[in-house]
């Protein structure tokens, strides 16, 4: 038991987000331990992305707290949260549209390169070594996911599946401890989804990551997630291992009501 608390990675307590009269997330209590793959599922409009946005600092919660490694990060700026080691992808892919694949990844290395405006502009030695290190690191990442041969293509010109992959690589380049994936399988066929789940498991092992992912279709994540939380209208209606979730009458009802 004490072992488990020490490895607690990300947790929220009584997290609530209200927009005017609408409560998008209500009293959300999350616990994710190191190296887990945890799913957040629920029908459309259940508040999943809102939960992500609150955790990553895009929104400031109405109530409750977000703790990362025991540290209170509620209300921190998104870039500060990323610097601590929480990276994310977006539901609607948000690549930098004028940039090459490599540049997209390099942007995520900016934190580790940043030697200030003048150091960077004058290409001072300190900057140079960090920049070339970042390039090496980015190319290595791209190689690992099989995108290296496309490094100089425009990111947004890639096929959909590869754009998703690139977004994940870009998030990895921030050297996160935990990776938040917002519907990574959206728009993919079942075969691609299965491949993606294998990919997710692979990067978890290779990069010693913890993964928290949103998925709309339950079946997709059943195989990959060790535990999952189910949201419906902002309320956590269930959590537990996939088998118990699948049998949970409340979950079935929520899904039948929609699909």
């Amino acid at each position: 038991m004490p072992e488990q608390t020490s490895s607690l990675m990300l947790n929220t307590s009584h997290l609530t987000m209200r927009f005017g009269g609408l409560t998008a997330v209500n009293d959300f209590n999350l616990e994710i331990r190191k190296n887990e793959i945890v799913g957040l599922i629920g029908p459309n409009g259940a508040g999943k992305t809102t939960a992500f946005n609150v955790i990553t600092g895009m929104y400031r919660p109405s109530e409750g707290k977000v703790l990362f490694g025991g540290r209170d990060i509620t209300g921190m700026k998104p870039h500060g949260i990323t610097a601590l080691g929480i990276a994310r992808t977006f539901q609607n892919i948000r690549l930098f549209k004028e940039m090459s694949v490599l540049e997209n990844v390099l942007v995520a290395c900016h934190m580790s390169i940043d030697t200030g405006l003048f150091g960077a502009t004058l290409h001072l030695p300190g900057y140079r070594s960090r920049e070339s290190e970042a390039r090496r690191f980015s190319m290595e990442l791209l190689e690992q996911v099989g995108l290296a041969h496309l490094a100089y293509e425009k990111g947004t010109s890639l096929p959909y599946g590869q754009q998703r992959r690139l977004e994940i690589v870009r998030a990895l380049a921030t050297k996160p401890k935990i990776l938040l994936l917002d519907e990574p399988a959206a728009g993919m066929n079942p075969q691609e989804s299965i491949e993606l789940m294998d990919f997710i498991r692979k990067i978890r092992d290779e990069f010693d990551l913890t993964i928290f992912l949103i998925e709309h279709h339950m079946q997709v994540v059943m195989g990959v997630c060790e535990r999952m939380y189910v949201l419906d209208y902002g309320v956590t209606i269930a959590h537990g291992d996939p088998a118990s979730i699948q049998k949970n009458p409340k979950v079935i009802e929520a899904y039948l009501g929609v699909d």
């Binding site: 927009f19 005017g20 992305t49 946005n53 895009m58 929104y59």
Partner: protein, 297 residues
């Protein structure tokens, strides 16, 4: 300060406020529908004044006829302007359409210099409008009194159109969600044209009245009122007609009173509106009557 002087200031403030309100409505309606700052709106105001001026001096129309001709002409001009300069860019980034608007504004101003001449022109104010009325010790010209009256009448008609007619309903639908409105079979192009027509008509009316109250025309006369009225629209809450009226009156009243009571600051008169704008943008960007728009991530 005597009471009569104060009263005179109030009348002046109300008539300047009315003119601001008339122009501000055009900004707010266009912004509400296209999310565009129509930089050329102030120049449409200038155009209206010039057309009426030429109607009176060249064609010797009676002033009311010149006024009618001018507002109809300017309304169609506004519709045409949208078709040429903004419609091709409706799906482009907002910055592009704004640059086009800035281009249109400069085009109208330089066309004004080219066609009307750069030198200011004196406006022959019709006798009815320039008559001096005496109320005890208070004296004022008729046009200062008529401006607020006309404004309220026009405002009544406008509110009726927006709130009671089918076109008005479509306008509100388009401003809420242009895509959804299109799906509901609203003819978006017609509504946009209509909006530009109404906005330009009001601006023309404002411009003509302006030229009767401050009887001098020049091709750049629309620049400052244009900017200030946009500011008025922002202060009131852009997208809201009531807000534009409120903002217009507020700005007009504050400006006149500032010059009246703090004459040492009159040099800063033009800066004042901008300071107010920045304060509003920073403190309450939605303006006094604006609705909050949630941003989707």
């Amino acid at each position: 300060m005597t009471l009569s002087l104060l009263f005179q200031h109030i009348v002046n403030a109300l008539s300047l406020g009315s003119l601001y309100a008339l122009i501000a409505i055009g900004y707010t309606m266009v912004y509400g529908i296209l999310r565009l700052i129509n930089f050329a709106h102030g120049d449409v105001f200038m155009l209206g004044a010039y057309v009426a001026f030429y109607g009176i001096t060249l064609v010797s129309l009676p002033w009311w006829a010149a006024l009618l001709v001018s507002i109809v002409f300017t309304a169609f001009f506004g519709i045409g302007l949208e078709k040429v300069a903004y419609k091709p860019l409706r799906d482009s980034p907002r910055i592009s359409i704004m640059i086009s608007a800035i281009g249109a504004s400069f085009l109208l101003e330089s066309l004004g210099v080219l066609i009307f001449g750069g030198r200011p022109k004196g406006v022959p104010v019709p006798d009815v409008l320039s008559k001096v009325l005496h109320f005890g010790s208070v004296s004022m010209i008729t046009v200062s009194l008529l401006i607020p009256l006309f404004t309220f009448a026009l405002l009544g008609v406008l509110l009726w159109i927006v709130n009671k007619t089918k076109t008005g309903m479509a306008m509100r639908a388009v401003s809420t969600d242009i895509e959804a409105a299109r799906l509901m079979a609203v003819d978006v192009n017609r509504i946009v044209s209509f909006t530009f027509g109404i906005g330009s008509l009001l601006a023309a009316f404002g411009g003509i009245m302006w030229s009767f109250k401050y009887p001098q025309l020049n091709p750049l006369m629309g620049v400052m009122p244009g900017l200030k009225c946009f500011i008025a629209a922002v202060i009131g809450g852009i997208g809201s007609i009531g807000g534009a009226v409120l903002g217009g009156f507020l700005l007009g009243i504050i400006e006149i009173m500032m010059v009246a009571f703090l004459p040492t600051l009159s040099g800063y008169r033009d800066a004042f509106a901008f300071i107010l704008l920045i304060v509003v943008l920073l403190v309450k960007p939605t303006g006094l009557l604006g609705k909050r728009q949630a941003e989707k991530v």
